[in-house]
């Protein structure tokens, strides 16, 4: 799958950098989870 297709599929996610920061911080605070 090309990057263009991935970006197209991801375009509707309506995710912010703050959402990502929070999700990553929670994951790392909890240790390594299942990917």
């Amino acid at each position: 799958m090309s990057w263009a297709e991935l970006f197209e599929r991801a375009a509707g996610a309506e995710v912010s950098e703050e959402d990502i920061a929070k999700a990553l911080a929670e994951r790392r605070a909890g240790g390594e989870g299942e990917a």
Binding site: M1, S2, W3, A4, L6, F7, R9, A10, A13, V15, S16, E17, D19, I20, A21, A23, L24, A25, R27, R28, E32, G33, E34, A35
Partner: protein, 155 residues
């Protein structure tokens, strides 16, 4: 040393923002997608984190397909499980740039502490894009006149 200047770690937040947000993160990672002499370094732990965030905020199918694509782009490195994935990837992968959105890594104090152990600096993607001019970096890292991007960053 010069080759190290084109070795980059994008932390899991930047990789997830590249896919899900666009903007500065995508512009930064595009530098690696568009130039085969720019190396994106990442450990399995770092990619696991990004994949988990993508799965949580988007969906599992997109996360799996992203993992396949990113594994085709990065140079893999290994480090112990307890280490910070981005800093350890830079250390083991000889990367002088770490791109992050984590305020905890971007403070002056954190930067000084990291540089005392690892020859790398942590930057926001926007700062990296301003700093990393492909034409001037090409002369330093590869030598000669910059021929322009050598890969389509969307394939």
């Amino acid at each position: 040393m010069s080759e190290k200047l084109a070795r980059i770690v994008a932390d899991a937040d930047v990789l997830a923002a590249d896919l899900l947000v666009d903007g500065d993160a995508r512009e930064a990672v595009d530098l690696a997608r568009a130039h085969d002499w720019v190396t994106l370094v990442a450990s399995e732990h770092l990619l696991d984190d990004a994949e988990a965030v993508i799965r949580e905020l988007a969906d599992g199918s997109l996360a799996e397909d992203w993992r396949t694509a990113i594994e085709g782009l990065v140079e893999p490195v290994e480090h112990p499980a307890g280490d910070h994935p981005a800093i350890a990837s830079a250390y083991h992968g000889d990367a002088v740039h770490v791109l992050s959105l984590d305020e905890g890594l971007l403070t002056a104090g954190a930067g000084a502490a990291i540089r005392s152990r690892v020859e790398t600096s942590v930057k926001r993607p926007a700062a990296f894009v301003r700093l990393f001019d492909p034409a001037s970096m090409y002369e330093v890292v590869v030598g000669g006149a910059y021929p322009g991007p050598d890969r389509d960053p969307r394939t």
